[in-house]
């Protein structure tokens, strides 16, 4: 089986800092891969390189059998590579529904020339309202649909970020710290949503997360990053036991193996 996403020898420096240095990884159809690593490890930069927001110094990204063009995040999003952001992203004065309406129609309007494909654009416009309603319910945002997104609690803004990515109709979703800034209850809602995205829609996920128990529960596979390189990779249980991972991420102190898993959640929550 060929991977949905494969990243090859991807590198990017900022000045003297090698933010991402020769990273290779792959994600299969419908797989959930957790991306962990300490602050400044290069996780967000890796996402930016994959989506084409940043141009790499070297390396390439293949998605759905196509080599992605660096510097073209719009085009890559239209191929089915969606993302949510580390910071909640809302547009001032717009309702939740309006955010999702944009997400549902923008892929069909990616370039001005797309307006000439009248029937395709019309079809998307006609479907948009139904798509939005379905996503609102799916993401649990239907009760706040008409509210201004700025005024929502932070947890719901982050959920809106994921919901917008979903409304573009992706094959894969890159979620950058979806649970950062959320309280315990909100984190559980987010976790359930991410799981349902994969389970009911077959969308592959790559999730950056500092909440290690959460990401270990959620992921089929973990990739650990430090100083821009992959230091450990494998099943959550394997990575959890990996020396390099423990040292890089936790300074070799904590043993969080016992505290994680669905049982440990009760204590955390």
């Amino acid at each position: 089986m060929s991977a949905l996403l494969s990243v090859n020898e991807l590198s990017r420096s900022f000045g003297g800092i090698k933010a991402v240095a020769g990273v290779g990884l792959s994600v299969d159809q419908g797989e959930i891969v957790g991306l962990v690593g300490p602050n400044g490890a290069g996780k967000t930069t890796l996402f930016n390189l994959i989506t084409g927001t940043l141009k790499p110094d070297a390396g390439q990204v293949v998605f759905g059998g196509r080599r992605l063009v660096a510097g073209e995040p719009g085009a890559n999003a239209r191929l089915g590579l969606a993302r949510s952001f580390q910071q909640a992203t809302t547009i001032a004065d717009l309702s939740v529904r309006a955010h999702l309406e944009r997400a549902a129609v923008f892929p069909a309007l990616g370039r001005p020339s797309f307006l000439l494909r009248r029937s395709a654009v019309m079809a998307v416009r006609e479907r948009a309202a139904a798509t939005v309603q379905e996503i609102l319910v799916f993401a649990g945002l239907d009760r706040v649909a008409e509210e201004s997104a700025d005024a929502l609690p932070y947890g719901l803004q982050k959920i809106l970020g994921v919901a917008m990515a979903l409304a573009t109709g992706p094959k894969m979703l890159l979620a950058d710290e979806p649970a950062a800034g959320l309280n315990g209850a909100e984190t559980l809602v987010m976790e359930a949503l991410l799981r349902r995205i994969r389970d009911t829609r077959g969308i592959a996920l790559m999730v950056i997360e500092h909440d290690v128990p959460l990401v270990m529960r959620l992921s089929d596979r973990i990739v650990a990053l430090a100083h821009g390189t992959v230091i450990a990779e494998g099943k959550p249980a394997e990575v959890r036991a990996d020396r390099a991972f423990i040292e890089a991420y936790l300074g070799g102190e904590a043993d969080f193996g016992a505290a994680s898993g669905p049982e440990g959640e009760a204590h955390a929550a």
Binding site: T51, A75, T90, I91, V105, L109, R111, S113, L115
Partner: protein, 306 residues
Amino acid sequence: MLQVLIGAAAAALAALPFLASDAFLYHVAILIGIEALLALSLHLTLRIGQLSLAQAAFMGMGAYASALLTRDLSLPFPAAFLAAVLIPAAIAAVLGTVILKVRGVHFALLTFVLGQAVVLIFVEFVVPFGGNNGLMRIPGAEIAGLPLQSRPAFYALTLVVLGAAFAVVARLVRGETGRILDGLAANEALTQSLGIDALAWRRLVFAVSGGVAGAAGSLYAHYLGYISPEAFGITATINALIMNVVGGVALLAGPLIGAVILVPLPELFRSALLYQQLFYGLSLLALMLFMPRGLGGLVVARRHAR
């Protein structure tokens, strides 16, 4: 209700020269129309978060294209007008691919230099642009044998072009495409992540802005009958910027409001020639101090208040 009132006021204002049938009034009204087009073209670049200081240069391209095509190649005015719109639009599209990646003050500086370079080309290439003397004896506008050179007729032509330009721009900055442009202005990273090619949309807006400026240039050339390079320098662009500020940068009607107020202003202070610049400057200062969102902003504030 307010909108109907504003619409009625605008229509009355537009009809005023016809009613008064005064040659000077026609003249001022035509200049307002041409300046409003240039200001509108600048407004478009502001909409994509870029201050272009090359707008008068695009106007110059339209003016020279229209003048040369009618005078030296005997093309009919409508064809020359079309070329005067399309040539700057195409040049803006090609330039935009490269320069729109530059943002903020760097873009303003870059377009300033490009604009000056265009003026320099008009000066240096005496054939065909006529050097510092510019071009004389530009044929009057006419459509299908109907001469439009009388002031009432040319004013009517200006109104039609202005109306068409505002219709095109309104179509672009409102509705679905407006949502794309607003999204790019409000949160570019998010909007791109939803499948929008930022550069392609900005380039379209920049091309339209070049086209609108070109239309202003064509009207200008055929109305005056002569053109020279200095009319298309930085001063003209700065005036267009001031019109946007005075009229309200966030408003589609801003450029028009600004032109209606600012174009006649020097004429009003004409008797006090010595103090003309001073009055003009002080009026602007007062406007900016007390109405930072422009005069158009007053109307919007009212509407929000109720």
